[in-house]
Amino acid sequence: MKALDVSDVTKTFKVKQGSRIIANDKISLKIDEGKIYGLLGPNGAGKSTLINIISGIMLPDHGTLTVFGKNIVTQTVEAKKMMGVVPQEIVTELAFTVQEILHYNAGMYGVPFGERAKLITQVLSDLELEDKRNERARNLSGGMKRRLMIAKAIVRRPRFLILDEPTSGVDVALRQKTWELVRRMNKEGMTILFTTHYIEEAERLCEEISLINHGRVIKEGRVSDIQREFSENVVAFELFDLNVAHLAGVAADGKEFHLPITELDKDMSSVIRHYGSNLKSIKNEAASLEQIFLKLTSQ
Protein backbone atom coordinates (compact mmCIF):
# COMPACT_ATOMS: atom_id res chain seq x y z
CA MET A 1 0.00 0.00 0.00
CA LYS A 2 1.21 3.49 -0.83
CA ALA A 3 1.59 5.98 1.99
CA LEU A 4 0.20 8.61 -0.34
CA ASP A 5 -1.47 8.20 -3.69
CA VAL A 6 -2.50 11.39 -5.44
CA SER A 7 -4.02 11.12 -8.86
CA ASP A 8 -5.16 13.81 -11.24
CA VAL A 9 -5.73 16.47 -8.62
CA THR A 10 -6.95 19.77 -9.97
CA LYS A 11 -7.74 22.88 -7.96
CA THR A 12 -8.71 26.29 -9.30
CA PHE A 13 -9.27 29.47 -7.38
CA LYS A 14 -11.66 32.19 -8.41
CA VAL A 15 -9.97 35.52 -8.35
CA LYS A 16 -11.68 38.82 -8.97
CA GLN A 17 -13.63 39.55 -12.16
CA GLY A 18 -14.39 35.96 -12.96
CA SER A 19 -10.83 34.98 -13.82
CA ARG A 20 -9.38 31.79 -12.40
CA ILE A 21 -6.02 30.56 -11.22
CA ILE A 22 -5.22 26.93 -11.81
CA ALA A 23 -3.20 26.23 -8.68
CA ASN A 24 -2.98 22.47 -9.24
CA ASP A 25 -3.32 21.03 -12.73
CA LYS A 26 -3.83 17.26 -12.86
CA ILE A 27 -1.15 16.53 -10.30
CA SER A 28 -0.31 12.90 -9.63
CA LEU A 29 2.26 11.47 -7.28
CA LYS A 30 2.83 8.39 -5.21
CA ILE A 31 4.90 7.96 -2.08
CA ASP A 32 5.98 4.57 -0.77
CA GLU A 33 5.82 3.92 2.93
CA GLY A 34 9.02 4.81 4.77
CA LYS A 35 10.29 7.30 2.19
CA ILE A 36 11.27 10.94 2.42
CA TYR A 37 9.71 12.74 -0.50
CA GLY A 38 10.41 16.30 -1.65
CA LEU A 39 8.05 18.66 -3.40
CA LEU A 40 9.92 21.46 -5.12
CA GLY A 41 8.87 24.49 -7.04
CA PRO A 42 9.15 28.25 -7.18
CA ASN A 43 6.85 30.65 -5.31
CA GLY A 44 3.26 30.23 -6.35
CA ALA A 45 3.87 26.86 -8.00
CA GLY A 46 0.99 25.27 -6.11
CA LYS A 47 2.85 23.32 -3.41
CA SER A 48 0.90 24.61 -0.42
CA THR A 49 -2.37 24.16 -2.28
CA LEU A 50 -1.54 20.51 -2.83
CA ILE A 51 -0.45 20.11 0.81
CA ASN A 52 -3.73 21.65 1.98
CA ILE A 53 -5.70 19.26 -0.18
CA ILE A 54 -3.71 16.29 1.10
CA SER A 55 -4.23 17.50 4.68
CA GLY A 56 -7.99 17.45 4.19
CA ILE A 57 -8.55 21.16 4.76
CA MET A 58 -9.20 22.05 1.14
CA LEU A 59 -11.34 20.20 -1.38
CA PRO A 60 -9.96 19.39 -4.83
CA ASP A 61 -12.09 20.20 -7.88
CA HIS A 62 -11.18 16.84 -9.38
CA GLY A 63 -8.98 13.91 -8.59
CA THR A 64 -8.60 11.31 -5.89
CA LEU A 65 -6.23 11.13 -2.94
CA THR A 66 -5.60 8.37 -0.46
CA VAL A 67 -3.38 8.19 2.61
CA PHE A 68 -2.58 4.59 3.54
CA GLY A 69 -5.63 3.57 1.57
CA LYS A 70 -8.00 6.05 3.21
CA ASN A 71 -9.69 8.43 0.80
CA ILE A 72 -9.06 11.97 1.96
CA VAL A 73 -12.28 13.39 0.57
CA THR A 74 -14.71 10.67 1.62
CA GLN A 75 -12.94 9.26 4.71
CA THR A 76 -11.48 12.53 5.90
CA VAL A 77 -11.42 11.76 9.61
CA GLU A 78 -9.76 8.37 9.14
CA ALA A 79 -7.21 9.84 6.74
CA LYS A 80 -6.41 12.73 9.07
CA LYS A 81 -5.61 10.29 11.87
CA MET A 82 -2.60 9.08 9.86
CA MET A 83 -1.17 12.51 9.25
CA GLY A 84 0.78 15.12 11.15
CA VAL A 85 0.88 18.39 9.27
CA VAL A 86 3.15 21.40 9.76
CA PRO A 87 1.60 24.27 7.77
CA GLN A 88 3.73 26.85 6.04
CA GLU A 89 2.42 29.72 8.10
CA ILE A 90 3.40 29.96 11.76
CA VAL A 91 0.39 30.47 13.99
CA THR A 92 0.39 30.58 17.78
CA GLU A 93 -2.28 30.28 20.40
CA LEU A 94 -2.39 33.48 22.42
CA ALA A 95 -3.50 32.16 25.77
CA PHE A 96 -1.76 28.81 26.17
CA THR A 97 1.65 27.59 27.26
CA VAL A 98 3.78 25.23 25.18
CA GLN A 99 2.84 22.36 27.48
CA GLU A 100 -0.89 23.11 27.21
CA ILE A 101 -0.81 23.41 23.44
CA LEU A 102 0.90 20.03 23.09
CA HIS A 103 -1.39 18.45 25.68
CA TYR A 104 -4.62 19.45 23.95
CA ASN A 105 -3.23 18.85 20.51
CA ALA A 106 -2.21 15.29 21.40
CA GLY A 107 -5.68 14.77 22.80
CA MET A 108 -7.32 16.05 19.63
CA TYR A 109 -5.46 13.29 17.81
CA GLY A 110 -6.72 10.64 20.19
CA VAL A 111 -3.81 10.25 22.63
CA PRO A 112 -5.38 9.22 25.97
CA PHE A 113 -4.91 11.66 28.86
CA GLY A 114 -2.50 9.45 30.79
CA GLU A 115 -0.10 8.95 27.88
CA ARG A 116 0.34 12.58 26.97
CA ALA A 117 2.90 13.69 29.57
CA LYS A 118 5.47 11.13 28.44
CA LEU A 119 5.05 11.99 24.76
CA ILE A 120 5.29 15.72 25.49
CA THR A 121 8.53 15.28 27.44
CA GLN A 122 9.90 13.26 24.54
CA VAL A 123 8.92 15.75 21.85
CA LEU A 124 10.16 18.73 23.85
CA SER A 125 13.56 17.08 24.05
CA ASP A 126 13.41 16.18 20.33
CA LEU A 127 12.98 19.86 19.54
CA GLU A 128 15.11 21.25 22.35
CA LEU A 129 12.24 23.13 23.88
CA GLU A 130 12.42 21.58 27.37
CA ASP A 131 13.07 24.86 29.13
CA LYS A 132 10.14 26.51 27.33
CA ARG A 133 7.63 24.02 28.63
CA ASN A 134 5.71 26.49 30.78
CA GLU A 135 6.33 29.52 28.63
CA ARG A 136 3.40 31.15 26.85
CA ALA A 137 3.71 30.23 23.19
CA ARG A 138 3.27 33.84 22.09
CA ASN A 139 6.48 34.76 23.93
CA LEU A 140 8.67 32.35 21.96
CA SER A 141 11.04 33.52 19.25
CA GLY A 142 10.16 32.89 15.60
CA GLY A 143 12.44 29.86 15.35
CA MET A 144 11.02 28.39 18.55
CA LYS A 145 7.48 28.90 17.29
CA ARG A 146 8.46 27.03 14.16
CA ARG A 147 9.78 24.18 16.32
CA LEU A 148 6.59 24.21 18.36
CA MET A 149 4.61 23.78 15.13
CA ILE A 150 6.72 20.71 14.34
CA ALA A 151 6.33 19.44 17.90
CA LYS A 152 2.53 19.69 17.56
CA ALA A 153 2.63 17.55 14.46
CA ILE A 154 4.97 14.83 15.75
CA VAL A 155 4.00 14.65 19.42
CA ARG A 156 1.80 11.62 18.75
CA ARG A 157 4.18 10.09 16.18
CA PRO A 158 1.98 10.05 13.08
CA ARG A 159 2.59 7.51 10.32
CA PHE A 160 2.84 10.25 7.74
CA LEU A 161 4.46 13.62 8.41
CA ILE A 162 3.92 16.57 6.10
CA LEU A 163 6.08 19.68 6.38
CA ASP A 164 5.36 22.75 4.29
CA GLU A 165 8.61 24.70 4.09
CA PRO A 166 9.82 23.86 7.57
CA THR A 167 13.10 25.69 7.03
CA SER A 168 11.95 29.02 5.67
CA GLY A 169 13.00 31.86 7.95
CA VAL A 170 15.16 29.56 10.04
CA ASP A 171 18.90 29.96 10.70
CA VAL A 172 21.49 27.52 9.39
CA ALA A 173 22.02 25.68 12.66
CA LEU A 174 18.32 25.15 13.20
CA ARG A 175 17.87 24.10 9.60
CA GLN A 176 20.46 21.36 10.10
CA LYS A 177 18.74 20.25 13.28
CA THR A 178 15.37 20.18 11.57
CA TRP A 179 16.68 17.86 8.89
CA GLU A 180 18.43 15.68 11.45
CA LEU A 181 15.09 15.36 13.18
CA VAL A 182 13.34 14.53 9.93
CA ARG A 183 15.91 11.77 9.29
CA ARG A 184 15.44 10.43 12.79
CA MET A 185 11.66 10.38 12.46
CA ASN A 186 12.07 8.66 9.13
CA LYS A 187 14.28 5.98 10.74
CA GLU A 188 11.54 5.44 13.31
CA GLY A 189 9.36 4.52 10.34
CA MET A 190 7.58 7.78 9.54
CA THR A 191 6.89 8.53 5.90
CA ILE A 192 7.71 12.15 5.15
CA LEU A 193 6.60 14.67 2.56
CA PHE A 194 8.06 18.13 2.57
CA THR A 195 8.29 21.20 0.41
CA THR A 196 11.27 23.50 0.24
CA HIS A 197 12.97 26.21 -1.72
CA TYR A 198 16.41 24.91 -0.78
CA ILE A 199 17.24 22.43 -3.44
CA GLU A 200 20.38 21.16 -1.72
CA GLU A 201 18.13 19.99 1.09
CA ALA A 202 16.04 17.88 -1.21
CA GLU A 203 19.16 16.58 -2.89
CA ARG A 204 20.60 15.42 0.41
CA LEU A 205 17.46 14.13 2.08
CA CYS A 206 15.23 12.38 -0.32
CA GLU A 207 15.36 9.69 -2.89
CA GLU A 208 12.38 10.91 -4.82
CA ILE A 209 11.07 14.31 -5.71
CA SER A 210 8.51 16.13 -7.80
CA LEU A 211 9.23 19.43 -9.40
CA ILE A 212 6.15 21.59 -9.85
CA ASN A 213 5.74 24.77 -11.76
CA HIS A 214 2.54 26.63 -12.63
CA GLY A 215 0.51 23.90 -10.93
CA ARG A 216 1.95 21.07 -13.03
CA VAL A 217 4.39 18.30 -12.25
CA ILE A 218 7.20 18.97 -14.68
CA LYS A 219 9.56 16.29 -13.44
CA GLU A 220 9.04 13.39 -11.11
CA GLY A 221 11.14 10.48 -9.93
CA ARG A 222 14.31 9.41 -8.18
CA VAL A 223 16.81 12.20 -7.63
CA SER A 224 19.61 10.02 -9.01
CA ASP A 225 17.65 9.20 -12.17
CA ILE A 226 16.82 12.82 -12.78
CA GLN A 227 20.45 13.77 -12.26
CA ARG A 228 21.63 11.06 -14.62
CA GLU A 229 19.15 12.08 -17.24
CA PHE A 230 20.47 15.62 -17.19
CA SER A 231 24.13 14.91 -16.49
CA GLU A 232 24.49 12.81 -19.59
CA ASN A 233 23.88 15.90 -21.57
CA VAL A 234 27.14 17.78 -21.13
CA VAL A 235 30.88 17.58 -20.83
CA ALA A 236 31.78 20.53 -18.62
CA PHE A 237 35.27 22.02 -18.70
CA GLU A 238 37.27 25.05 -17.61
CA LEU A 239 40.11 26.73 -19.53
CA PHE A 240 43.17 28.79 -18.56
CA ASP A 241 43.10 30.95 -21.65
CA LEU A 242 39.60 31.95 -22.69
CA ASN A 243 40.52 33.51 -26.01
CA VAL A 244 40.62 30.43 -28.17
CA ALA A 245 38.72 29.00 -31.05
CA HIS A 246 36.05 26.65 -29.75
CA LEU A 247 34.85 23.32 -30.95
CA ALA A 248 31.53 23.37 -32.72
CA GLY A 249 28.64 23.18 -30.26
CA VAL A 250 30.51 24.48 -27.20
CA ALA A 251 28.55 27.00 -25.12
CA ALA A 252 29.80 29.18 -22.30
CA ASP A 253 28.12 28.99 -18.90
CA GLY A 254 29.87 31.46 -16.64
CA LYS A 255 33.50 30.37 -16.37
CA GLU A 256 32.56 26.91 -17.55
CA PHE A 257 32.03 25.60 -21.02
CA HIS A 258 29.55 22.91 -21.91
CA LEU A 259 29.57 20.55 -24.84
CA PRO A 260 26.37 18.58 -25.38
CA ILE A 261 27.15 14.90 -25.43
CA THR A 262 26.35 12.57 -28.26
CA GLU A 263 28.72 9.82 -27.16
CA LEU A 264 30.52 10.36 -23.88
CA ASP A 265 33.98 8.80 -24.61
CA LYS A 266 34.29 10.34 -28.03
CA ASP A 267 33.21 13.82 -26.93
CA MET A 268 35.52 13.81 -23.92
CA SER A 269 38.53 12.85 -25.96
CA SER A 270 37.79 15.36 -28.70
CA VAL A 271 37.64 18.12 -26.06
CA ILE A 272 40.99 16.98 -24.64
CA ARG A 273 42.55 16.77 -28.09
CA HIS A 274 41.25 20.20 -29.11
CA TYR A 275 42.15 22.23 -26.01
CA GLY A 276 45.22 20.25 -24.90
CA SER A 277 47.25 21.90 -22.16
CA ASN A 278 44.84 24.85 -22.03
CA LEU A 279 42.39 22.59 -20.11
CA LYS A 280 42.10 23.43 -16.44
CA SER A 281 39.48 20.80 -15.61
CA ILE A 282 37.07 18.51 -17.33
CA LYS A 283 34.17 16.46 -16.08
CA ASN A 284 31.06 14.68 -17.09
CA GLU A 285 28.95 16.79 -14.83
CA ALA A 286 26.22 15.36 -12.64
CA ALA A 287 23.88 18.28 -12.90
CA SER A 288 22.77 19.62 -9.55
CA LEU A 289 19.07 19.75 -8.92
CA GLU A 290 19.44 23.49 -8.89
CA GLN A 291 20.59 23.56 -12.52
CA ILE A 292 17.94 21.08 -13.59
CA PHE A 293 15.38 23.09 -11.75
CA LEU A 294 16.39 26.37 -13.33
CA LYS A 295 16.48 24.79 -16.73
CA LEU A 296 13.06 23.21 -16.39
CA THR A 297 11.34 26.19 -14.86
CA SER A 298 12.69 28.64 -17.37
CA GLN A 299 11.29 26.64 -20.28
Binding site: N52, S55, M58, P87, F96, E100, A106, M108, G110
Partner: protein
Protein backbone atom coordinates in the same frame (compact mmCIF):
# COMPACT_ATOMS: atom_id res chain seq x y z
CA UNK B 1 -17.55 11.89 23.87
CA UNK B 2 -14.43 10.43 22.36
CA UNK B 3 -10.91 11.42 23.46
CA UNK B 4 -10.59 13.58 20.34
CA UNK B 5 -13.73 15.60 21.02
CA UNK B 6 -13.19 15.66 24.75
CA UNK B 7 -9.73 17.21 24.34
CA UNK B 8 -11.18 19.99 22.17
CA UNK B 9 -13.92 20.57 24.75
CA UNK B 10 -11.33 20.64 27.57
CA UNK B 11 -9.19 23.08 25.58
CA UNK B 12 -12.10 25.48 25.18
CA UNK B 13 -12.99 25.21 28.86
CA UNK B 14 -9.37 25.92 29.74
CA UNK B 15 -9.49 28.96 27.49
CA UNK B 16 -12.20 30.71 29.50
CA UNK B 17 -10.84 29.48 32.82
CA UNK B 18 -7.69 31.46 32.06
CA UNK B 19 -9.79 34.58 32.17
CA UNK B 20 -12.16 33.32 34.83
CA UNK B 21 -12.37 36.68 36.52
CA UNK B 22 -13.59 38.40 33.35
CA UNK B 23 -15.85 35.42 32.78
CA UNK B 24 -17.83 35.93 35.97
CA UNK B 25 -17.12 39.48 37.09
CA UNK B 26 -18.97 41.27 34.29
CA UNK B 27 -22.22 39.27 34.45
CA UNK B 28 -22.24 39.42 38.25
CA UNK B 29 -21.81 43.18 38.31
CA UNK B 30 -24.54 43.72 35.75
CA UNK B 31 -26.89 41.33 37.54
CA UNK B 32 -26.32 43.08 40.86
CA UNK B 33 -26.97 46.45 39.23
CA UNK B 34 -30.19 45.27 37.61
CA UNK B 35 -31.31 43.76 40.89
CA UNK B 36 -30.50 46.90 42.82
CA UNK B 37 -32.61 48.97 40.43
CA UNK B 38 -35.53 46.57 40.30
CA UNK B 39 -35.67 45.93 44.00
CA UNK B 40 -35.92 49.67 44.62
CA UNK B 41 -38.51 50.29 41.91
CA UNK B 42 -40.53 47.18 42.57
CA UNK B 43 -40.16 46.55 46.27
CA UNK B 44 -43.05 44.44 47.49
CA UNK B 45 -44.85 44.47 44.13
CA UNK B 46 -46.15 41.36 42.51
CA UNK B 47 -46.81 40.53 38.88
CA UNK B 48 -49.50 38.05 38.01
CA UNK B 49 -49.19 36.62 41.48
CA UNK B 50 -45.39 36.27 41.48
CA UNK B 51 -42.96 38.37 43.47
CA UNK B 52 -41.59 40.90 41.00
CA UNK B 53 -37.98 40.81 42.20
CA UNK B 54 -37.91 37.01 42.01
CA UNK B 55 -39.53 37.24 38.58
CA UNK B 56 -36.81 39.52 37.26
CA UNK B 57 -34.08 37.56 39.02
CA UNK B 58 -34.93 34.30 37.25
CA UNK B 59 -34.98 36.19 33.97
CA UNK B 60 -31.54 37.60 34.67
CA UNK B 61 -30.12 34.14 35.43
CA UNK B 62 -31.47 32.94 32.10
CA UNK B 63 -30.02 35.95 30.31
CA UNK B 64 -26.64 35.23 31.88
CA UNK B 65 -26.69 31.69 30.51
CA UNK B 66 -27.71 32.96 27.07
CA UNK B 67 -25.05 35.68 26.92
CA UNK B 68 -22.17 33.53 28.17
CA UNK B 69 -22.94 30.53 26.03
CA UNK B 70 -23.49 32.62 22.93
CA UNK B 71 -20.44 34.82 23.17
CA UNK B 72 -17.92 32.19 24.29
CA UNK B 73 -17.68 30.13 21.07
CA UNK B 74 -18.34 33.16 18.86
CA UNK B 75 -15.39 35.01 20.38
CA UNK B 76 -13.10 32.00 20.40
CA UNK B 77 -13.80 31.19 16.76
CA UNK B 78 -13.55 34.73 15.44
CA UNK B 79 -10.26 35.16 17.28
CA UNK B 80 -8.84 31.87 16.01
CA UNK B 81 -9.79 32.81 12.46
CA UNK B 82 -8.00 36.11 12.82
CA UNK B 83 -4.92 34.62 14.47
CA UNK B 84 -4.89 31.60 12.15
CA UNK B 85 -5.09 28.96 14.86
CA UNK B 86 -8.34 27.74 13.31
CA UNK B 87 -6.03 25.48 11.29
CA UNK B 88 -5.66 23.32 14.41
CA UNK B 89 -9.30 22.29 14.31
CA UNK B 90 -9.26 22.06 10.53
CA UNK B 91 -6.40 19.57 10.64
CA UNK B 92 -7.68 17.54 13.59
CA UNK B 93 -9.42 14.23 12.85
CA UNK B 94 -12.71 15.39 14.33
CA UNK B 95 -15.89 15.54 12.24
CA UNK B 96 -17.21 19.11 11.82
CA UNK B 97 -20.42 18.48 13.79
CA UNK B 98 -18.34 17.14 16.67
CA UNK B 99 -16.17 20.25 16.58
CA UNK B 100 -19.36 22.31 16.84
CA UNK B 101 -20.76 20.25 19.71
CA UNK B 102 -17.45 20.40 21.60
CA UNK B 103 -17.53 24.20 21.36
CA UNK B 104 -21.21 24.31 22.33
CA UNK B 105 -20.59 22.06 25.35
CA UNK B 106 -17.76 24.35 26.44
CA UNK B 107 -20.15 27.26 25.97
CA UNK B 108 -22.71 25.64 28.23
CA UNK B 109 -19.97 24.95 30.78
CA UNK B 110 -19.02 28.60 30.80
CA UNK B 111 -22.65 29.59 31.23
CA UNK B 112 -23.03 27.10 34.08
CA UNK B 113 -19.89 28.38 35.77
CA UNK B 114 -21.12 31.96 35.49
CA UNK B 115 -24.68 31.28 36.60
CA UNK B 116 -23.66 29.16 39.59
CA UNK B 117 -21.10 31.64 40.90
CA UNK B 118 -23.35 34.62 40.26
CA UNK B 119 -26.28 32.88 41.95
CA UNK B 120 -24.20 31.94 44.98
CA UNK B 121 -23.32 35.59 45.41
CA UNK B 122 -26.65 37.20 44.64
CA UNK B 123 -29.37 34.78 45.70
CA UNK B 124 -29.23 35.99 49.34
CA UNK B 125 -30.71 39.31 48.24
CA UNK B 126 -33.86 37.67 46.92
CA UNK B 127 -36.19 36.99 49.83
CA UNK B 128 -37.94 33.66 49.91
CA UNK B 129 -36.70 32.33 46.58
CA UNK B 130 -36.40 28.56 46.15
CA UNK B 131 -35.97 26.04 43.37
CA UNK B 132 -39.46 24.69 42.72
CA UNK B 133 -38.78 22.21 39.91
CA UNK B 134 -35.09 21.36 40.04
CA UNK B 135 -35.10 18.98 37.08
CA UNK B 136 -36.97 21.40 34.85
CA UNK B 137 -34.59 24.19 35.84
CA UNK B 138 -31.45 22.14 35.15
CA UNK B 139 -32.78 20.79 31.85
CA UNK B 140 -33.88 24.25 30.74
CA UNK B 141 -30.45 25.71 31.54
CA UNK B 142 -28.69 22.84 29.79
CA UNK B 143 -30.72 23.10 26.60
CA UNK B 144 -30.43 26.89 26.64
CA UNK B 145 -26.64 26.69 26.98
CA UNK B 146 -26.29 24.22 24.11
CA UNK B 147 -28.80 26.08 21.95
CA UNK B 148 -27.09 29.44 22.24
CA UNK B 149 -23.69 27.74 22.20
CA UNK B 150 -24.57 26.34 18.77
CA UNK B 151 -25.81 29.75 17.67
CA UNK B 152 -22.48 31.18 18.85
CA UNK B 153 -20.60 28.56 16.82
CA UNK B 154 -22.64 29.45 13.72
CA UNK B 155 -22.03 33.17 14.14
CA UNK B 156 -18.36 32.60 14.98
CA UNK B 157 -17.85 30.58 11.83
CA UNK B 158 -19.84 32.90 9.60
CA UNK B 159 -18.53 36.33 10.49
CA UNK B 160 -15.00 37.54 10.08
CA UNK B 161 -14.33 40.25 12.63
CA UNK B 162 -15.38 41.70 15.94
CA UNK B 163 -17.11 44.70 14.35
CA UNK B 164 -19.63 42.38 12.72
CA UNK B 165 -19.97 40.59 16.04
CA UNK B 166 -20.99 43.86 17.70
CA UNK B 167 -23.57 44.37 14.95
CA UNK B 168 -25.02 40.93 15.58
CA UNK B 169 -25.22 41.67 19.29
CA UNK B 170 -26.91 45.03 18.76
CA UNK B 171 -29.37 44.13 16.04
CA UNK B 172 -30.20 40.51 16.80
CA UNK B 173 -29.32 39.49 20.34
CA UNK B 174 -30.30 42.66 22.21
CA UNK B 175 -33.80 42.97 20.69
CA UNK B 176 -34.32 39.26 21.27
CA UNK B 177 -33.28 39.67 24.90
CA UNK B 178 -35.47 42.71 25.48
CA UNK B 179 -38.51 41.02 23.96
CA UNK B 180 -37.98 37.83 25.92
CA UNK B 181 -40.03 38.76 28.95
CA UNK B 182 -37.08 39.02 31.27
CA UNK B 183 -38.25 42.23 32.96
CA UNK B 184 -42.02 41.95 32.61
CA UNK B 185 -44.65 39.25 32.06
CA UNK B 186 -46.25 38.83 28.65
CA UNK B 187 -49.69 39.63 30.07
CA UNK B 188 -48.54 43.19 30.75
CA UNK B 189 -47.85 43.77 27.05
CA UNK B 190 -50.49 45.31 24.77
CA UNK B 191 -51.68 43.29 21.79
CA UNK B 192 -50.17 42.22 19.44
CA UNK B 193 -46.82 42.23 21.31
CA UNK B 194 -47.89 39.63 23.83
CA UNK B 195 -48.81 37.30 21.01
CA UNK B 196 -45.76 38.13 18.90
CA UNK B 197 -43.41 37.50 21.81
CA UNK B 198 -44.39 33.84 21.60
CA UNK B 199 -42.47 33.79 18.32
CA UNK B 200 -39.31 34.99 20.01
CA UNK B 201 -37.45 31.73 20.65
CA UNK B 202 -35.57 33.22 23.57
CA UNK B 203 -38.84 33.94 25.38
CA UNK B 204 -39.36 30.20 25.73
CA UNK B 205 -35.94 29.63 27.27
CA UNK B 206 -36.56 32.33 29.85
CA UNK B 207 -40.09 31.06 30.45
CA UNK B 208 -38.99 27.49 31.15
CA UNK B 209 -36.05 28.54 33.33
CA UNK B 210 -38.39 30.76 35.34
CA UNK B 211 -40.98 28.03 35.63
CA UNK B 212 -38.26 25.68 36.90
CA UNK B 213 -37.21 28.14 39.55
CA UNK B 214 -40.32 29.91 40.84
CA UNK B 215 -43.09 27.92 39.23
CA UNK B 216 -44.44 30.88 37.29
CA UNK B 217 -44.90 30.66 33.51
CA UNK B 218 -46.52 33.07 31.10
CA UNK B 219 -46.75 30.48 28.34
CA UNK B 220 -47.22 26.74 28.59
CA UNK B 221 -43.95 25.16 29.87
CA UNK B 222 -44.57 22.22 27.56
CA UNK B 223 -44.85 24.52 24.56
CA UNK B 224 -41.62 26.23 25.62
CA UNK B 225 -39.88 22.89 26.01
CA UNK B 226 -41.01 21.78 22.55
CA UNK B 227 -39.92 25.07 20.98
CA UNK B 228 -36.47 24.82 22.60
CA UNK B 229 -35.95 21.29 21.36
CA UNK B 230 -37.07 22.17 17.82
CA UNK B 231 -34.87 25.26 17.66
CA UNK B 232 -31.93 23.22 18.95
CA UNK B 233 -32.49 20.60 16.28
CA UNK B 234 -32.62 23.26 13.56
CA UNK B 235 -29.50 24.97 14.91
CA UNK B 236 -27.70 21.63 14.96
CA UNK B 237 -28.45 21.02 11.30
CA UNK B 238 -27.44 24.55 10.31
CA UNK B 239 -24.30 24.39 12.45
CA UNK B 240 -23.24 21.13 10.82
CA UNK B 241 -23.74 22.54 7.33
CA UNK B 242 -21.75 25.66 8.09
CA UNK B 243 -18.99 23.80 9.93
CA UNK B 244 -18.54 21.37 7.04
CA UNK B 245 -18.24 24.26 4.64
CA UNK B 246 -16.02 26.53 6.67
CA UNK B 247 -13.62 23.95 8.07
CA UNK B 248 -12.86 22.88 4.51
CA UNK B 249 -12.41 25.38 1.71
Amino acid sequence: MTTYMWALFAREVKRFQKIWFDTVATPIVSTVLYLAIFSVVAAGRTVAGADYTAFVYTGLLGMMMVNSSFSNPAFALILSKNVGTIVDIQLAPIAPWKVGIAYAMAAFTRGLFTVVIAALITIWFIPGIALMHVLVFVAAMFITGLEFGMLGVIIGLLIKNFESFTLVMTFIMQPMIFLAGIFYPLSSLPAPWDYLSLFNPLHHNINLIRYGMIGYADASPLLSFAVMLSISAILFIVMNRIAVRSLKQ
